[in-house]
């Protein structure tokens, strides 16, 4: 698996990660190394093997649909970068 500059830029965009253009060659090298290493997985035939999502084969518990938490909005928002009237502020999305 050989990545190129354009692919690294595309992956970074999908992940909404700003990366310094000067670092791109290093990411190309590192990510290619990691993906090549991971390719060892192709040595094993997994036809018919079910994917394992939970080691104990457990599934998610269900609970009654009732309110269990109290309103802590003010406390939760006290650490937010920018809030106004209980709302989180972000740069304008719609003109």
């Amino acid at each position: 698996m050989e990545l190129d500059d354009a692919e690294v830029k595309k992956i970074a965009h999908l992940a909404r990660l700003g990366i310094d253009p000067a670092d791109i060659p290093e990411y190309v090298r590192n990510l290619t190394d990691i993906l090549s290493f991971v390719e060892q997985l192709n040595k094993v035939d997994t036809a018919g093997v079910p994917p394992l999502a939970h080691p104990l084969d457990a599934s998610q518990r269900l609970r009654a649909d009732v309110v269990t938490e109290t309103d802590q909005r003010a406390e939760f928002q006290s650490g937010a970068p920018l809030v106004e009237d209980g709302l989180y502020l972000v740069p304008k999305v719609i003109e």
Binding site: V49, A53, K92
Partner: protein, 484 residues
């Protein structure tokens, strides 16, 4: 006081030899005096600790103390602590004061344990050397040119340097056991689902598990008893009663079957490490255990499987850090996308970015089957290897790590080589099994760990095995030079 184990300190508090306030003060002074070059702590909470110690002393006087009441401990900075910065060793959370406590934090507080501070770690627990921390690397007290291991490096080094009697860690691919091994202390990763993940900042949710780091197995039993238990707020928490882990520590090992996987004793192991492990096994034979050669044929798939599953889950988990609700936000964003990209680009370090990108790629359209699905299938094969092995043996043993502590900077530019230092621990997380590392010797002055893997919910047996070994060995009592 610093050379006493948690169990001894608990007895000392009980008999009134000293108060928790005196003990806590002594630990804080030792941290003040010795932590500087080691860099074990991101935050020391001296005032809160002294207040908690005084409350613990009052509780003991009123006759309501448990074994951990008044015992100081250090908490990995991945566990949320209400009112105290919880940074996960990332610039992203450098300003994050948690508005709530993790379940583990709450349980330890309810037991009366006294938190001294938050320990240094690899950023978001991604690393095997503690070098990815935003707050700088931790140094190994046995040789300060070497790494303490990671990601719970600060927790392991603090116990090894006798700054604290016990600490907490988390283990996604070896992050409790590998640093415990490299620092010469005892570390236990419980069965997946045994310790609540609520308020433990998520890295790879199907693998993450919290556990104790202590000097002795007996201390690990005491700490695990307080940490473990069912929690409704963690959807993968297992509803099963917590055992009295101390009750079986004295059990004889006569007739116990120890599986030795051929795959863990191959050429990859440093010869000194191999010799130390062989001597430890000889000790277990003298204790009446029997060793049996076994095979775990899919071991070679563990590290590649992990480096698909863990980054995939990390890329999804870390999408919450978007600069909107908490954490770092960049200056003067031009628009929403610029805000996301620059906040995340500035907030995350290089290793975290690499893993987010690998995970994003593995989960992206057209690649999902080739990477994530394939890895989940391989994970099934790895789990079934262990299931089969445990039909014939009681525990599995091998080295915790292929080599002792490596030098700072040695592997930092080569992620794949770094990943291979977790080759023996990773499969245990993929299978969800409990595993423990116990001190088993030294190579050139650096500690070696013996890895003991148990069947599901067999923590009591692992602790029994380690405790019996610690009755006939003294590796866990050795103190690094300069920390006597």
């Amino acid at each position: 006081m610093q050379h006493k184990t948690l169990a001894e300190l608990s007895a000392g508090l009980d008999s009134g030899d000293y108060t928790s306030e005196e003990l806590t003060t002594a630990c804080l002074e030792r941290i003040e005096r010795l932590n500087g070059p080691l860099n074990c702590f991101i935050t020391v909470t001296a005032e809160e600790a002294l207040a908690a110690a005084r409350a613990a002393d009052a509780r003991r006087q009123s006759g309501k103390a448990g074994p951990l009441t008044g015992i100081p401990y250090a908490h990995k900075d991945i566990f949320c602590t209400r009112g105290v910065r919880t940074s996960c060793a990332s610039r992203m959370l450098d300003n994050f004061i948690s508005p709530y406590d993790a379940t583990v934090t709450q349980r330890l507080a309810a037991a009366g344990a006294v938190m001294l501070g938050k320990t240094n770690m690899d950023e978001f627990a991604m690393g095997s050397s503690n070098e990815t921390s935003y707050y700088g690397p931790v140094r190994n007290p046995w040789n300060q040119d070497t790494v303490p291991g990671g990601s719970s490096g600060g927790s392991a080094a603090a116990v090894a340097a006798r700054l604290v009697p016990a600490s907490t860690g988390t283990d996604t691919g070896g992050s409790i056991r590998q640093p415990a091994s490299l620092c010469g202390v005892t570390g236990l990763k419980p069965t997946y689902g045994r310790v609540s993940r609520y308020g433990m900042i998520a890295f790879a949710s199907s693998l993450d598990q919290g556990g104790p780091i202590t000097r002795t197995a007996e201390d690990a039993a005491l700490l695990l008893e307080a940490m473990a238990g069912f929690d409704e707020r963690d959807s993968t928490s297992v509803d099963q009663p917590v055992e009295d882990y101390r009750a079986g520590l004295g059990n004889s090992l006569k007739g116990m079957k120890i599986g030795l996987p051929a795959e863990y004793f191959d050429g990859a192991v440093d010869s000194g490490v191999g010799d130390a492990v062989e001597q430890a096994l000889e000790e277990f034979r003298r204790l009446g255990a029997e060793t049996v050669d076994i095979r775990l044929p899919h071991t070679y798939l563990s590290v590649p499987t992990y480096y698909v599953v863990a980054p995939a889950e990390c890329s999804s988990n870390l999408s919450r850090f978007d600069g909107v609700r908490f954490g770092h936000r960049c200056q003067d964003p031009q628009d929403l996308e610029d805000m996301y990209k620059r906040s995340r680009g500035e907030g995350f370090g290089a290793e975290v970015k690499r893993r987010i990108m690998i995970g994003t790629y593995a989960l992206s359209a057209g690649y999902y089957d080739a990477y994530y699905l394939k890895a989940q299938q391989a994970r099934h094969l790895i789990r079934d290897d262990f299931r089969q092995a445990f039909e014939a043996v009681d525990v599995i043993m091998g080295p915790t790590t292929p080599t002792p502590a490596f030098r700072l900077g040695e592997k930092v530019d080569d992620p794949v080589t770094m990943y291979l230092s977790d080759v023996y621990t990773i499969a245990v997380n993929l299978a969800g099994l409990p595993g423990l590392s116990v001190p088993a010797g030294f190579v050139d002055g650096l500690p070696v760990g013996l890895h003991v893997i148990g069947n599901y919910f067999d923590e009591a047996r692992l602790l029994n095995v380690a405790h019996q070994y610690q009755q006939v060995s003294d590796w866990h009592t050795r103190v690094p030079e300069g920390f006597e």
